[in-house]
């Protein structure tokens, strides 16, 4: 009896092989894990670019469309056109000490959205020398105001 109870008390889990497994697993996970948190901006492709909106088949006025162009000097040109008159409404968001004024851009987009609620998408282009980083920043800012952003091809 006494020998049996003494044997029960001495039983303990051998942790050494478990630790070995954990070390191998943790090393593998640390080596293969990517610590960059990636995100994606969903954009469509517009073939029309900054051209005139396509004519509607049933003689209804063409919808209002908005296009933006990022300029190399930091300005952003916005052009709203269409409607019954087909008139164009150009705006320029001037650069702020060489940088794109993103707050002013967002404010202008909100203003345009209030004025023409039917505009739900924007087409984005840029001057050839504008770098991708700047284009992406402009797209991100537009997405805060417009649900759909198209990139001009």
């Amino acid at each position: 009896m006494s020998a049996g109870s003494s044997g029960d008390g001495d039983v303990e889990l051998n942790l050494a092989p478990i630790i070995d497994c954990f070390t191998v697993l943790i090393t593998y996970l640390l080596v293969t894990a990517s610590f960059l948190s990636l995100a994606a901006l969903d954009v469509g492709v517009s073939a029309t670019g900054t051209g005139a909106p396509p004519p509607s088949p049933d003689n209804t006025p063409p919808p209002m469309v908005m296009s933006l162009e990022a300029l190399a000097n930091g300005d952003v040109k916005i052009n709203v056109r269409g409607g019954v008159s087909g008139r164009e409404y150009p705006y320029v968001i001037a650069a702020l000490s060489g940088q794109r004024d993103e707050d002013k851009l967002l404010a202008k987009l909100e203003e345009i959205k209030k004025k023409w609620p039917t505009i739900t998408e924007a087409s984005v282009s840029a001057e050839p020398t504008v770098i991708y980083k700047d284009v992406v920043k402009v797209i991100k800012k537009i997405q805060e105001a417009m649900p759909k952003v198209m990139i001009s091809s």
Binding site: I26, L38, A39, A40, L41, V45, A70, I131, Y132, S153
Partner: protein
């Protein structure tokens, strides 16, 4: 007396052992954390080391689809180099046919025909270096559109 003292000391040394229970606890927590973050991250979408993606406060989750990577020296589609660039610029033979790059359009069309349901998946993940000029991006986008890839996902690094 002396003998018994030595004996006692020896016994103390032999009893010494590493307490690995707490180490096992730490390892377990670390393992759970790593497994959880491993499961939620997309490991197949990883840009090459030679390109640096733009940093934006975006929240969209990248979806698994065909990938095109635009670097300073090359354009790769699904990890296969398809085109050589010279400081982000296309060679003369790629710029002759309008806005498209014939090579990129051809390869993307080939990739498109490999998908189980042709002409159904129009999504393309674009991984471009942050310094790529818009003229190059525009040609890549036009080539992708020419092959029917019109739902683009611009991959960015999430800014904190």
């Amino acid at each position: 007396m002396k003998k018994s003292f030595l004996k006692k000391k020896k016994k103390k040394n032999s009893d010494f052992s590493l307490q690995i229970t707490s180490m096992a606890d730490i390892f377990m927590i670390l393992l759970v954390f790593l497994l959880k973050s491993y499961a939620t991250s997309i490991t197949n979408i990883a840009p090459s080391s030679h390109i640096s993606l733009p940093e934006v406060t975006a929240t969209g989750v990248p979806k698994e689809s065909l990938k095109i990577e635009v670097g300073k020296e090359a354009v790769t589609i699904d990890d296969k180099q398809v085109l050589q660039l010279r400081n982000f610029e296309f060679g003369g033979e790629e710029t002759g046919a309008g806005e498209n790059s014939p090579t990129i359009t051809r390869i993307l069309n080939q990739e498109r025909s490999k998908t189980p349901i042709p002409n159904m998946d129009s999504a393309l993940v674009v991984m471009a270096d942050e310094g790529t000029p818009y003229s190059t991006i525009k040609r890549v986008v036009a080539s992708a559109a020419g092959a029917g890839f019109v739902d683009l996902q611009l991959l960015v690094v999430q800014a904190q």
